[in-house]
């Protein structure tokens, strides 16, 4: 049975296939760091990092290039430019005509895609191992030779505007999420919408995109991650040949403003005629593995697992099973970020349960955790689950590449990724409890309520009939 649940979309992919991956990542929050991938690493003379995860199951490879720049690095007034540039990276160079990049990849039996978040922008191709040379040549080419003109930029601007309508404006839950983040971050650019605010998107220009490209796209600000059926002896000469010849760019620093001390909880309530099911969520500012108080990150991963992950977690058992006031509750926490992370809690009330009563019950659960903490048994079970998730992550061709790329892109090291199981194993009950006390601070939180119109829900239009046809083997 498919049970809809709230999810946090953090990736703004260029096409639907990538979106699918993004959703799966969002639904499995603790996959973020969850594996030892035994990668091999190198650094080219121009500063570009190279990471390889060997996987010889099938004669295929994934190439990913991650740029250490995202929407939180945008100048004021051009929100969405990081994501727009991601789209425009497919608009050609002297050697590859506009729009041909993906067609060439497809003609060679590959898939390609790209994604943008607040902290990084990534491009990837999945392709037969003997075509890696080709896609690496093209990826290196567009790192430095992108050509843009209004005749390709302006139609693509209409595309991202339609993308915004599809993802955000047609979806009240996504609209509320934008409002909540803007409230949670009073100064830090994480409060920005990745895809951009509509009025600024409408004004984005070719020059805006090129300025951003020239500043941030350089080998010393990029990471090459390859996973699949290839060895470092084969990979490194190829990387040197294509990426190694690109001149190093300026030394870049991310000048992110810091959040001020926050003094009051915020509340955002949205009534919308399109809302059939009320729900609430709360975001707390939380440390990441790269921020101040990073030592709290592993304890918070375990805390999230204990209280809000799965159907036997504390909150689910209390509110969905025992008290029977919610249809679902849960938590989410992704600690891989340049600056602060978000610890989230969400709940959907059962029929005839007021959202305020559900929120009160969630608050009681949080108060109980803060007052009494978690148990040793809960901690041990959570550790086992997180450690097991590493095995599942290794089964996928791209999971290792994604985790490593994302971690390096926010400033973490390969060693930090690889030592993750040790770090999780070493966490104590006291560390979880102290981290819980610090993160559940209402003064640095925002609570969002999503509700039907005040005059009641729009009348039903009859039963639901999702499309689930066409699955088959071709």
């Amino acid at each position: 049975m498919k049970i809809p649940r709230l999810s946090v979309m953090s990736l703004r992919n260029r096409t639907f296939a990538g979106l699918l991956a993004a959703v799966m990542v969002a639904l499995v929050p603790n996959m973020s760091f969850a594996a030892v991938f035994s990668p091999q690493t190198a650094t080219l003379d121009n500063g570009m990092q190279v990471v390889l995860v060997e996987n010889h199951r099938a004669p295929v490879v994934t190439q990913m290039v991650w740029y250490k720049v995202g929407s939180a690095d945008e100048p004021l007034g051009v929100s969405g430019i990081a994501h727009f540039l991601e789209h425009l990276m497919f608009k050609g160079t002297a050697d590859v005509a506009p729009g041909d990049f993906s067609k060439i990849v497809a003609r060679n039996g590959g898939n390609d895609n790209a994604f943008t978040t607040w902290d990084y922008t990534g491009y990837f191709q999945n392709i037969a191992r003997d075509r890696l040379d080709l896609v690496m040549k093209m990826e290196a080419d567009r790192m430095t030779n992108l050509q843009l003109s209004d005749d390709v930029v302006l139609p693509e601007r209409d595309v991202i505007i339609e993308e915004r309508r599809s993802r955000i404006d047609n979806n009240p839950g996504a609209l509320l999420g934008e409002q909540m983040r803007a409230s949670l971050y009073m100064a830090h650019p994480y409060g920005r919408s990745i895809i951009g605010w509509m009025h600024e998107m409408e004004q984005l220009s070719t020059e805006d995109a090129l300025d951003f490209y020239r500043k941030w796209y350089a080998p010393n600000n990029a990471i090459l991650v390859v996973a699949g059926d290839i060895t470092m002896d084969e990979l490194l000469p190829m990387a040197q040949k294509y990426y190694g010849v690109i001149p190093r760019g300026d030394v870049l620093t991310r000048n992110r403003v810091k959040e001020p001390v926050q003094h009051a909880p915020r509340k955002v309530t949205m009534h919308d005629p399109r809302v059939g099911q009320a729900s609430m969520s709360r975001y707390y500012l939380a440390p990441s593995y790269h921020s101040e108080n990073a030592a709290d990150a592993a304890p918070l991963e375990l805390l999230s697992e204990i209280i809000g992950s799965g159907t036997t977690s504390r909150m689910f058992k209390a509110l969905v099973v025992d008290q029977a006031i919610a249809t679902s509750v849960g938590t989410f926490y992704d600690p891989v970020a340049v600056d602060l992370a978000t610890f989230g809690v969400y709940g959907v009330p059962r029929d005839n349960v007021e959202l305020a009563d559900l929120e009160k019950a969630i608050d009681d659960q949080i108060a109980d955790i803060v007052a009494n903490g978690v148990t040793q048994d809960e901690l041990e079970r959570a550790k086992q689950k997180l450690l097991d998730s590493a095995v599942f992550a290794r089964d996928s061709l791209s999971a290792g590449a994604r985790v490593l790329g994302k971690s390096l892109a926010v400033g973490l090291s390969v060693e930090q990724v690889e030592s993750w199981p040790d770090r999780v194993s070493a966490v104590t009950v006291d560390q979880v409890n102290e981290a819980a006390k610090r993160v559940f601070n209402d003064k640095q939180s925002v609570t969002g309520w999503l509700l039907p119109p005040k005059d009641g829900p729009v009348s039903g239009r009859g039963p639901v009939l999702p499309i689930d046809t066409g699955a088959g083997v071709h």
Partner: protein, 443 residues
């Protein structure tokens, strides 16, 4: 399901059609395992990681079998059988799963009732026992029933005003009329409220049997190890299922329905007649669809609607095959004042494909993608076990993985153009638009 998830679901289907598989220079050996008790499974051994996946399907046991006054029954059972079984109540059962990192889930489609199990080798015995209990001794305790009912109702409420859901239910009602395919898989508020433990038990007794069971396994297990586990998991099922026969149906295509909704972007889906999986022209049609709207940035629809004119983020088409009906479908979302333009561009491509077919270059490019991307399907165990179920269901043979690329390569320009002329039917397309479209809509 919110609108985003809806789109994702739609695309997951589309990507199934563009990511084909066929022979490649690699050894993926499909074995048939028959247990002592006569349970049959297909297996791909892969010992790279200590885990295995098992996909199963009870064919013909999907939502199409729901009685009209019990719509949503199969779906609700799929949510309940892993919520307590044997001596274990829900929390005990789920605790066994979650504490041992065992994933077990069930799903009711229109045609089949399916299940999926993923486990570490370390927990294999427990995982198989949980699967056995879920299929043969589900409890249907009141607590779990009411909880799952509340989740389904919550999903129905969420979907009520979702543009994607509105579009699909309107579309399916329009083309399927009184056939069970017109009914909602999740049921409606009235029918879901009325379902009870007797209904669930009856369903389980009739739907889960050896004669409609298909099993695909991939991962860290040998044929010798798998055999006894098959008997353990499925040996106690009855020999024969007892399911209503669903009639084949020819959907009724033609006309444009508009459902008013105050949103900035109109969402459109459309469909026309399709082609049977067993039809000798299936692969020509499949290649044709890749060129038309299945091939992402390489497709004509994306080129015309997105790349040249910026009218949409996504536009696509796909072959949608159910057991008793076949369709060719598509979708696009465009701002209200330009949805008409998007639809007329799609319509023009429909007609152009019918009248002029494709070029040799387009055909060559499509084949090189469809055959070259084949090994990408072999990169995770879950993909493999799922494919094994699909191959058995469609009766493709154990050697299908070796034959598939030759099936694609054998498609000629004449084949594609002949099939395009026969299949493409721009005069009989049903379109559903949800939003506030401006101007005249036509296909």
């Amino acid at each position: 399901m919110n609108q985003l998830m809806k789109q994702v679901a739609g695309i997951a289907v589309a990507s199934m059609t563009i990511l084909g598989m066929a022979s490649a220079a690699q050894a993926v050996e499909v074995k048939e395992v028959v247990s002592e008790g006569g349970i049959r499974a297909w297996l791909i051994e892969d010992h790279m990681n200590p885990l295995m996946t098992m996909d199963i399907a009870f064919t013909g046991a999907g939502a199409a079998t729901d009685p009209a006054d019990k719509m949503g029954l199969a779906n609700m059972v799929s949510g309940l059988i892993d919520e307590g079984a044997g001596a274990m109540d829900s929390q005990t059962f789920r605790g066994e799963m979650e504490n041992r990192s065992i994933s077990l889930s069930f799903d009711a489609g229109r045609d089949d009732f399916s299940g999926s199990l993923t486990t570490l080798t370390r927990e294999r015995e427990t995982a198989i026992d949980l699967l056995r209990l879920a299929l043969s001794e589900p409890r249907f305790d009141d607590e779990a029933v009411e909880r799952i009912r509340s989740q389904i109702v919550s999903g129905l409420k969420r979907a009520e005003n979702d543009p994607g859901d509105i579009a699909s239910r309107t579309f399916f009602k329009s083309i399927f009329g009184g056939h069970p395919y017109a009914r909602p898989v999740s049921g409606n508020f009235e029918t879901v409220a009325g379902l009870n433990a007797n209904d669930f038990r009856n369903f389980v007794g009739q739907a889960f049997a050896k004669d409609n069971l298909i099993i695909g396994v991939a991962g860290d297990i040998t044929a010798e190890e798998l055999g006894p586990l098959l008997d353990e998991a499925f040996g106690s099922l009855p020999d024969h299922s007892d399911l209503p026969v669903i009639a084949d149906v020819t959907p009724k295509f033609g006309g444009i329905d508009v459902v008013d909704q105050d949103i900035p972007q109109s969402q459109a889906i459309w469909g026309q007649k399709g082609i049977e999986r067993k039809d000798p022209d299936f692969y020509p049609a499949y290649v044709m669809n890749y060129i038309l709207g299945g091939g992402g940035f390489s497709s004509r629809l994306t080129e015309e609607v997105r790349e040249k004119r910026g009218l949409a983020y996504g536009v696509y088409s796909y072959l949608a095959n159910l057991d008793h009906a076949v369709m060719m479908m598509g979708g696009v979302a465009t701002r209200n004042d330009a949805i008409g333009q998007s639809l007329s561009l799609v319509s023009a491509e429909w007609t152009k494909m019918k009248e002029k077919g494709v070029s040799q270059e387009e055909l060559d490019n499509a084949k090189s993608y469809l055959t070259g991307a084949y090994p990408l399907r072999f990169t995770s165990l879950g993909n493999l076990s799922g494919m094994l179920v699909g191959m058995q269901k469609d009766d493709l043979g154990m050697d299908f993985l070796d034959r598939r690329n030759s099936l694609v390569d054998a498609v000629t320009l004449d084949d594609v153009n002949r099939v395009a002329a026969e299949l493409m039917d721009p005069a009989n397309v049903t379109v559903t638009v949800v939003g506030k479209p401006e101007g005249k809509l036509a296909f």
